[in-house]
Chain length 112, copies 2
DNA sequence: CACTAACGTAAGCCTTGACTAACCTTCTGA
DNA sequence: TCAGAAGGTTAGTCAAGGCTTACGTTAGTG
């Protein structure tokens, strides 16, 4: 369940509001309230986004009294970058194997 | 409507099946039928994914008779990488401005 | 001009997911 | 210990989106 963290991070980043939140806490440590005050959605909505971002490894949480302080986690983004890179490079191995095995099509390579 | 292409690409990549498709056509040019034969979903489903990937700038389409050949578009992935990079770097400018302006909270910086 | 092959498109179903309102939990201070 | 502040959790709503079936379209072929 840890191997699919990058996958989770990618899905988390697909949501515009979560990217906006991540942008806020990229270089600054902010409380949940401060983050929520920035947007015109309710606090619970922001809280849910924060939970998703945290589970995806994109931010870290720190308690300070009744407050919760959040900060961006660069390693999380790095993992996503690597996932995208592997997507391209690993295809060298995977592509033909999958196609020729599963499909079994005689592919008459079209012109050129 | 072209400025939000990277955004579209990121959403497209969030879907596991679309990443699998992209992996197939990363280094190989394949027809829609060959791609569809690889998965156990119907052809129309794959066709819809291909449309989304194409609109996101992640693949290109080429006609050859009744067939449609698809190939991965490296520039599309590159755009996503840049979007992720900007997410981190541009926050230097944006974060404080947003928080201090919109919120107007007096943030008593907690310890340290 | 049929006939067939290879695809895309449309409509409908069902699940996922973002959001709100209401509630519960934890911590601080008088 | 009681009140209030900060914030996570739950139940329910509504729209987005992935999937399938049925149909339309275009290009070769006899």
């Amino acid at each position: 369940m840890d191997a699919e963290r990058p996958d989770e991070a990618l899905r988390a980043l697909a949501e515009p509001r979560r990217r906006a939140i991540l942008q806020l806490v990229a270089h600054d440590e902010l409380s949940a309230g401060e983050i929520a005050a920035t947007f015109d959605v309710t606090r619970p909505a922001v809280s849910q986004h924060l939970t998703i971002l945290k589970n995806a490894g994109l931010i870290t949480e720190r308690r300070d009294g009744t407050r919760r302080l959040y900060r961006g986690e660069p390693a999380g983004l790095q993992a996503v970058r690597e996932l995208l890179d592997e997507l391209w490079s690993s295809s060298l191995d995977v592509a033909r194997r999958l196609v020729e095995a599963d499909a079994g099509v005689d592919r008459r390579r079209a012109a050129r």
